[in-house]
């Protein structure tokens, strides 16, 4: 017992000492990658040590090794939930929500009156607890993934709309005048100048929406779902005190969320290579 606690303490001190040494050195790609990794591994090792050292009941907090075994032994359940929640619910809703917000933003942008009216309202709605609409949408669209996609659409719509509308006005009047002197029409100006200039804002909206989409799809399942899905599994497994399965689902959610966000960040880097924030 004390052995595990001692192990946790040693790992913590060792990891921190190593990181202090590394952080004092020059910033390279290698160190800026390895330092957070060491920190993360240290945390996991300390978690393992503390859980085993204090003999914490697995009903309260399972050890990382237990979670890993559970993860490995129930991959089929996890995959089924992943398909139900992420691919059917979150991704469909994300594409529909962001797509419609983008199109409406372009429409709104053509009329200054609409823009000035919708922007404050959109900002206001984006700050509201929209997730509360989940029970209503579950009633309207049934228990299956359609209602989850609907929740996601509602959640991602306004952040995306506000960001796109803001982005479309990001080009300066000087640049727009230049397009006029080249006799460029509305569509040419939109495609060649204003949309590219809006890209940093659009990607900001897409990034915010990516986290919201997963949250929306999972929380909507708390209000009713068929017998699969990550939110469903989490809420029922908590009831059965199978916390290792809950943590395994959370690991899946974490990996999915990070991968989703990372994928958008990579696309952003390729599309907005000209923007100052992307320079190295």
């Amino acid at each position: 017992m004390t052995g595990w606690l001692l192990f946790a303490l040693l790992v913590w001190v060792g990891g921190w000492w190593l990181n202090t040494r590394l952080a004092a050195r020059r910033v390279t790609r290698f160190t800026s990658l390895i330092i957070p990794v060491i920190f993360g591994l240290t945390l996991i090792a300390v978690w393992e040590g503390v859980v085993r050292g204090f003999e914490i009941s697995p009903v309260l907090l399972p050890a990382p090794s237990d979670i890993a075994t559970r993860f490995a032994s129930s991959t089929s359940i996890l995959w089924e939930d992943f398909v139900q929640t992420v691919i059917k619910g979150a991704l469909t809703g994300y594409v529909m929500g962001c797509g419609s917000a983008f199109l409406i933003a372009i429409l709104v942008d053509r009329y200054d009156f609409l823009r000035r009216g919708l922007l404050p309202v959109g900002n206001f709605v984006a700050a509201l607890p929209v997730i509360g609409l989940a029970p209503i949408l579950v009633m309207w669209f049934g228990f299956d993934w359609q209602s989850k996609a609907a929740v996601v659409v509602v959640m991602v719509f306004f952040p995306m709309l506000v960001n796109t509308v803001q982005g479309l006005s990001a080009s300066s009047s000087m640049q727009r005048d230049l397009m006029r002197t080249w006799a460029a029409g509305y569509w040419t100006t939109l495609l060649r100048l204003r949309l590219p200039a809006a890209m940093p804002f659009i990607f900001n909206g897409l990034k915010i929406a990516s986290t919201l989409a997963l949250i929306g799809a999972i929380v909507a399942e708390f209000f009713g779902s068929p017998i699969r899905g990550m939110g469903f599994r989490i809420s029922t497994s908590v009831g059965q005190l199978a916390l290792d399965l809950v943590w395994a689902e959370i690991v899946v959610a974490a990996i999915t969320g990070s991968a989703f966000y990372g994928a958008i960040a990579i696309i952003e880097r390729a599309v907005t290579f000209w923007h100052p924030s992307q320079r190295r």
Binding site: L60, G117, A127, V138
Partner: protein
């Protein structure tokens, strides 16, 4: 700002028109069913009248929700379990506690990140990564586990609020505390200011605009956390519980009134921070 009053009003009116129209459209099926069963031919006028006054409509009309809110706030005693103010207060207290804890944690982490290089390079990436995790998924677990550990009531909900609200504060404060440029820091050096003095007199005041912007985001996130935190406790009390109970019993009007109450709460809280921001910044000569 002045030129946007008319457009905003137009958009809001448009939303109400769409809402009323959608209420007719969504509730029409039920109205026709009812009419067919009692053998009555339904005129358009009767259809609209019925669609806007059903007891359990698919989408209640705005005035029905307004009446429900009026009944559950003004006409009920605050201590009554059916008073929306009582439920709002429960959610509000969890929100505020979580928000206070989250802000304190966020500022403490930001100060640590500014002054400790190791912390900056090892913790900061994880703080950012932690937000790509759909953290609300953990909410039921946090509630149940803390309950099992003997902690119940306000704190579990506040924990979720705290987790959601600390992130914007950390990111905003790190940016804000780093916002004084080299020239200003050198100026402090020439006055032989100590580290503490540089912090209290330069870095902290310079970070205020960033802090308030983050606080607004944190407050909205914190309310969402409190509402979601109320779901797995089995609908005891609070706005989240009203939502859940409403969805169990098909009480759509109750759901919508709880939802609008939450929206009003969010607007009021964010507006309050905005007001404090305006006063503070103008007294500091920054706005």
């Amino acid at each position: 700002m002045k030129g946007s009053v008319l457009p905003v009003l137009t958009v809001v009116c448009g939303i109400f028109v769409i809402w009323y129209a959608a209420a007719v459209w969504l509730n029409a099926t039920w109205a026709y069913d009812k009419a067919a069963r009692s053998g009555v031919e339904l005129s358009t006028q009767m259809l609209i009248a019925d669609a806007w006054s059903q007891e359990k409509p698919k989408l209640p009309a705005p005035h029905q929700v307004a009446v429900e809110i009026w009944k559950t706030t003004v006409e009920k005693k605050i201590t009554s379990k059916r008073s929306l103010i009582y439920h709002s207060w429960i959610t509000l207290s969890a929100t505020l506690l979580g928000f206070a804890l989250g802000t304190a944690l966020g500022i403490a982490l930001a100060v640590g990140i500014i002054y400790n290089r190791t912390m900056d390079r090892s913790v900061m990436p994880w703080i950012i990564a932690s937000q790509t995790i759909p953290i609300l998924a953990i909410a039921p677990m946090i509630i149940v586990v803390l309950n099992a550990a003997g902690i119940s009531g306000l704190l579990p909900k506040a924990t979720i609020s705290m987790y959601l609200s600390f992130f914007p504060v950390v990111v905003g404060m790190v940016k804000g505390l780093r916002s004084p440029d080299q020239m200003q820091l050198d100026q402090m050096r020439t006055w032989s200011a100590s580290g503490a003095q540089t912090f209290w007199r330069l870095r902290l005041p310079a970070s205020m605009p960033y802090l308030f912007t983050s606080l607004k985001i944190g407050m909205a996130a914190s309310l969402v956390g409190a509402i979601v935190g109320e779901l797995p406790t089995g609908a005891v009390a609070g706005l989240g519980a009203r939502l859940l109970a409403g969805s169990y019993y098909g009480q759509t009007i109750q759901i919508w009134s709880a939802l609008l109450m939450a929206a009003a709460l969010a607007a009021a809280l964010v507006g309050l921070i905005g007001l404090i921001q305006r006063i503070t910044l103008s007294r500091m000569g920054m706005a």
